[in-house]
Symmetry: C2
Subunit: 120 residues, 2 copies
Amino acid sequence: METKVNLAEKFSLFQEHWTPKIVGELNNQQVKLAKLLGEFVWHQHEHEDELFLVVKGTLHIQFRDREVTLQEGEFLIVPKGVEHKPVAPEEVHVLLFEPASTQHTGEVESDLTVKHLERL
Amino acid sequence: METKVNLAEKFSLFQEHWTPKIVGELNNQQVKLAKLLGEFVWHQHEHEDELFLVVKGTLHIQFRDREVTLQEGEFLIVPKGVEHKPVAPEEVHVLLFEPASTQHTGEVESDLTVKHLERL
């Protein structure tokens, strides 16, 4: 995959929330883009650390004992096994970096769970 | 590592070119930031794909048969085994994603090779 990816262009191709799109793959890891709005479900990833990089907007990531707020140009790595819940009072654009095996709702099956992510 | 990372703040902490700084680790992969200026060396990574995301400026990545130009907000994945040479006529700030094992000059030993990368 030696074609460059323009983040803004990829974000313009979809409007749904909480449905990460795969935009790159390397070393069995994937780069995904997602638009978030509202509250996600509490979940954890047993075996995968997950990186959230905010490209636009403000994202709150709640943990059981605290909350981290990310602005544009900030990222957070959520370690495997740590329960978290992303919350976006207004729409946020995020870039995710995680293993290809990662299910976005972790071990939780919810109405928000998307089994097969689209590639853009 | 549940501390958020602000890219602009990390970039403000160093001025050297071609010396990637480790700012995050997940799933045996690392997130690195680098400032580039001028021409790097031709090299390849035998076993690691490498992602370049331009945070500021314009980066040219030369391949033996073509060149890709990346602007702010664009990324390119250079597959393992593919010779490439980053060129930055003016200073560029890039974010790199790659396995922790990746040596930045690949299999090439050069004056630019930094053996032990600093963590910021």
